[in-house]
Structure formats: structure tokens, C-alpha cells
Symmetry: C2
Subunit: 368 residues, 2 copies
């Protein structure tokens, strides 16, 4: 019970064969006849043998693992992770995930761990695209001959020593703005939250600045009063809805909400407060996440193509790992922006807002 770990030697001894025969049997080598194989596998199971991947990897020089380095555990990453999983499952690779919590030192250490662990590839959403840690990490990975695909795009597209997959915020915002213009809107408001802490706030600052430029480039006026810059982390959309319902009709006919939470909170708020969307006011979302709901989603939005990005990233990585694109110069894959129109309203809209008493626990069961 509390002895040493079993090795193939133990299994060999138990079954009376040579230990390389055990090794082969356990890997289902067709040269070992079926019955022997079975006998060996059974013995291994009986003894509680667990193969040692450390030794295995050292021997044949492949870890069959890929490393994922992410900034944090945001829902943003759920869809990409799902793609990583699916793809590597199919290829019989395993994922090793690290979150650095926006800490570049942690990021550096984690990547070093990947490099020393000889993962066969890395997908990395960097905290920053510069600085000594960043450069060092790239160097480590290169020295260990580990291919990297970045999630996201570096700002200035110099020739960089890594592949990258991402979307361009400016293109996405332009698409959204032009969509609204195309629908006849001339007074367009912006819902944003530039003052939030951390990355989310920074994104809003960037988006608002870009959007300002786009308004200007199109000769479109942007009234200070039409920038709804909220302070509430998660439910700010509700404040905007309230503010809008307070305003007399010379008001924006559309609101471009610069993130998922804001957009959905705003939609919900408008509905609860009795302002009809899109009849009285239109809402366009940005970077909306819930991707399975595409089409059934009541909100029209510039899509966050995170699933697509994940898919492209992992495919590119495996291309390199499989030497199909070994010495390809690093590629920059840009995901084109896309608008998904709020289609047939989801289930939440068709039914009542509340569930009524009826489908309770079976009374027969409560008697026990």
C-alpha cells in the first residue's frame, strides 16, 4: 500500500517478461501478440502502475504538452480556451495553463517554466508588448526552440520574431460607427467607462480616443453630453438607461456601448424602464462575448471574435509544431471585424420574466 511507485520493471517481474516488452505492450505495440499484451496490461493495472511521463518524455524527447499563458481568468478567454482544448485533445496534446494576473514577473517566470519544461509550443496573451521581461521571455522561448503564437497584435508592426493573431480595435470601431450611420443615425451617443481600474479602464480610454478620431474623420459632431462615461463597474448600463429616460427627445437616437457589460446592462435597463429599443433608441454593443448565443442574442454588436482568434492561434501553432510551417517567417493573422445583428430574440424574451410556482420538487419526494 505505502510502498514505492511501480515501474515497468515491477510489471516485468510480475509477468515474467523482459521490461521492454512491457513498455511495448503498454503502448499497444502491435508486435506484441494480443494475449500477452492483455496479460501485461492487466498486471500493470493490478499493481497500480502509473506510467512516468517524465521518463517517457526524456527518452523520446517529446512532452506532448503546450503551454498557455494568459493575463487573467476573464470570460474573454473562455471561448479561446475551449478551442485550445478541443484542438489539442484531438491531437493528443495536453494543456498547461498559467495566469499571471497582469504581473509581468509572474508571466516571465511562467514562460520560463514552460521553456524549461520543454512544452512543444506556447500560446501567449502578453501583459505588455515591450520591456525587458517581454524581450527576455521571447529570448528564452527562442533559445529553447519553442514556437510561440501571440494572442493579440503588437502596435507597430515591425518584423517580430513571433506569430500573432488578433483584431484591430480601430477597424472594429469604424465598422460599428459606419453601421449606425448606414442605419440613418446622425446623433450617436457613446457609453463608456474610462475610469475603471485596470485593463478594462485602459481599453475604454483607448476606444473612446479612437472613436473620437473616427467621428472627426467623418465630420460627425460628438456632443459632450452624449458621452455617457459611467463609474459603476458592472451595472453602469443601468445608470445610462435611467439618464436617457430622463432626457427629453432631442437626444441620441443610438448608443454605441463600448463593452459587453455596458451594452447588456443598458439594454436591460431600457427595457425595464420602458424605453423601447430599437424603436425609441438603438443600442450597438462592442466586444460582446456570449458567442454560443450568436443570432439568438437580442443585442446587435460588433463581435468579439475571441473564439475565432483562439481557433486560428491554435491551428497556427500546430502547423508549426508539425513542421508544416517550420521556417515560415512569423505571420500576423488579422481577424476581420464583424457585426452580428440581434436576431430572433432568445428564450429569455419570449417567456415571462419570472418563473412561477409549479415545477417544484415532486411532493412525493418531500415525504421521505
Amino acid at each position: 500500500m505505502n510502498g514505492k511507485r511501480m515501474t515497468i520493471l515491477d510489471v516485468a517481474r510480475e509477468t515474467g517478461v523482459y521490461y521492454s516488452t512491457v513498455s511495448r505492450a503498454l503502448r499497444n505495440d502491435r508486435r506484441i501478440p494480443e494475449p500477452t499484451r492483455l496479460r501485461i496490461r492487466l498486471a500493470a493495472r493490478r499493481l497500480g502502475y502509473v506510467p512516468n511521463r517524465v521518463a517517457r518524455s526524456l527518452a523520446h524527447g517529446a512532452t506532448h504538452t503546450i503551454g498557455i499563458m494568459l493575463t487573467d481568468m476573464q470570460s474573454y478567454f473562455v471561448a479561446p480556451m475551449d478551442e485550445f482544448q478541443n484542438f489539442s485533445d484531438r491531437s493528443n496534446y495536453t494543456l498547461s495553463v498559467h495566469f499571471c494576473s497582469w504581473d509581468q514577473r509572474r508571466e516571465r517566470k511562467g514562460l520560463q517554466h514552460f521553456a524549461e519544461g520543454r512544452v512543444e509550443g506556447v500560446i501567449w496573451a502578453p501583459v505588455q508588448w515591450e520591456g525587458p521581461e517581454f524581450v527576455q521571455s521571447i529570448a528564452d522561448l527562442q533559445a529553447a526552440r519553442i514556437p510561440v503564437v501571440m494572442l493579440g497584435l503588437q502596435r507597430d508592426q515591425q518584423s517580430v520574431p513571433f506569430h500573432q493573431v488578433g483584431a484591430k480595435p480601430a477597424d472594429k470601431l469604424a465598422l460599428g460607427l459606419d453601421y449606425l450611420l448606414g442605419r440613418g443615425h446622425r446623433r450617436i451617443g457613446i457609453a463608456t467607462a474610462t475610469n475603471l481600474n485596470g485593463q478594462r479602464g485602459r481599453l475604454h480610454v483607448e476606444r473612446l480616443a479612437l472613436l473620437r478620431g473616427l467621428f472627426e474623420a467623418r465630420g460627425l459632431p460628438l456632443l459632450a453630453d452624449d458621452i455617457f462615461n459611467v463609474v459603476d463597474e458592472d451595472y453602469g448600463g443601468f445608470d445610462i438607461a435611467a439618464e436617457l429616460s430622463r432626457r427629453a427627445p432631442p437626444r441620441p437616437t443610438a448608443i454605441f456601448a463600448l463593452d459587453d457589460f455596458l451594452a447588456r446592462g443598458l439594454m436591460k435597463g431600457l427595457r425595464v424602464l420602458g424605453l423601447k429599443a430599437p424603436e425609441e433608441i438603438s443600442v450597438l454593443g462592442f466586444d460582446v462575448v456570449g458567442d454560443e448565443a450568436a443570432g439568438r442574442w437580442p443585442l446587435t454588436s460588433v463581435w468579439l471574435e475571441s473564439r475565432r482568434m483562439g481557433e486560428l492561434a491554435v491551428k497556427q501553432l500546430f502547423k508549426i509544431i508539425r513542421r508544416e510551417a517550420a521556417n515560415t517567417p512569423p505571420q500576423t493573422i488579422i481577424v476581420p471585424p464583424r457585426i452580428v445583428e440581434g436576431g430572433s430574440v432568445g428564450k429569455n424574451e419570449t417567456n415571462s420574466l419570472f418563473l412561477k410556482e409549479s415545477h417544484d420538487t415532486d411532493p412525493a419526494k418531500t415525504s421521505s
Copy 2:
């Protein structure tokens, strides 16, 4: 550039010492004199040598890695993960994280991977506490002599072959209910969402059932109309707020909101709709996550002690790894429930709801 990976042999050749000297130098063995050590480290860096942890682990038999198996990437796990990171950083261990997306097959495969990779310990939040996969995974881990600490509690406390850390839902609900009773509330409503898909819906079903029992045990009436069972995934709290504001004053004086989202949406909705909390109606949250905000949080709530659970779990695991508790019988650590009162209101409450134009980009910069 595109040659083979460097090994200590290359470094030895480069520096003219024996390769075991290199091994020692790189691990900062004090027997190697300072200057030699430095010379070797420099050469290693120059050559782009990256230590091979696979080989290292095989040689000394320790991977210095712990495996984390989680059901999904929910915010629930952010605080525990943070504790895991902090603790293992300090002990110079690295984390390998897996998410199984509530898929028991994936969970099984991932744990097997951990076992074969000889991680030195596992923290595991199981999808289910039973079934063949569960039993097999436990067996694997035991066969590989890998200690496990579970995140969560098994229902019937049989003597189980693993440590576990968790809280009891019934205790938490009872604490919450008695808190409200203690504040004089007699007509208490419940905000829930039993119809949501996946785990969240299941949790609501469980909580509502438990709470029903607690009401009954205290001889407290629970009106069907006072169960606000919403259908909206994220903003159902708004719907409840709207419904409450519609009702004439013989209505609940307090609402026990059975999850974080519901509670916060409800609070926000009440404020926007002009219903004063807690003067006109009290809200008690449940399993509220935002733990850094403790005290500054405007919402009184039965706390989700996820950080504490994470901390206790990782501490327990390291105790076992360090043999301080090697052959201790598996312990069940129960985190006592706790209510955190919404203290001094956070920054979001003191200021206006909107940010006004003023702190824009420096005009000096726009001129460029």
C-alpha cells in the same frame, strides 16, 4: 541559430570544465568558487542554454509542480487561484492548471495527466463526487502516491481517502436567514433563478430547497409571491427591482438574493428606481465574490469564503507534501459561514454616477 538545444555538455565544453561542475554551478552550489560559477553562468547565458526540467525531474525525482483541476473559468476561482499562486511561488513550486468544462471525461484525462506527470500534489474541485470516473481518478492519484485536497465537501461524510475543504450551504443559508430575523424582518422574499442552465441553476434549486426547509423549521411563512424566480441570466436583479417597485407596501421588507449577480443587480435596480435600501427594503446577498472590497462593499452578504478555502486547501496540501502530515488520516476542513456587512460605501457611491469631460487627453499632445 537553428541548431540543437544546448545542454550542460555544451556549456562544459565551452568553459573547459567537467559537466557535473556546470550542473553544480548552475544550481549555485557553494562548493564551486564564485568566479568559476560566474564564468559558467555567463557562458550558459551566452550559448542560450535553457535547463531541461524533464531531465532534472527524472534525476532527482521531484517535479516541483502542483496540479489544479477546476470545473471552469468562473470568477469563483479567481481568489483561490490567487492563493495557490502566492503560496506556491513562495515555496518555489509551479502550478499546472486544467479546466474540464464540467466534463468528467476531460477531468479524468487531466488528472491522469497530472498523475503521469508526477505532480507533487493536486487541488481538485470535482465535477461530481461519484461515478466510475471519480473513483478511477482517485485510484490513479493514490497509485501514483499523489496527495489530493478537494475543494468542496462531499455530501455524506463517509470516511473518504482524500482531504477536503469546503463550506456547508445549509449553514450559510441559516446564518443569513437568522441574520434577517434578528434585524426584525418577518416577511422575507427570496431572489433566485432555478431555471438557469448548468451548475448555476442547480445551485439555485438546492439553495431554494434548503431555504424552504429553514423557513419551515422556524415556523416562518413563505409566500409563493415572495419567491422571485427570475429567468434572466445576468440582469435578473433588475426585473426583481422593477417588480418590487410595482408592488404596494404590503410586500417583503427584505430580500434574500441567492447569488452574487442577483444581489448586485437588485441593489442597483432598486437605487435607480428610487426604492431606498435598506430603508424601504433590505437586500441580503449570498456567495458574493468581490473579496478585496470587503467592508467597502455596499451590500451586506453571506460571504463566499472562496479565498479562505483556497488558502486552507493549499496550506493543507503543502503540509502533506512536506511530510508534516504525511500519514494523517484525511481531514475535512469546514470553513464557517460569515456575514459581511456592507460597510462604508465604496468610491462608486460617493461620487456622481457619471464622469464629466475634463480629464481628457492633454491638448498639448493632440497637436502632434
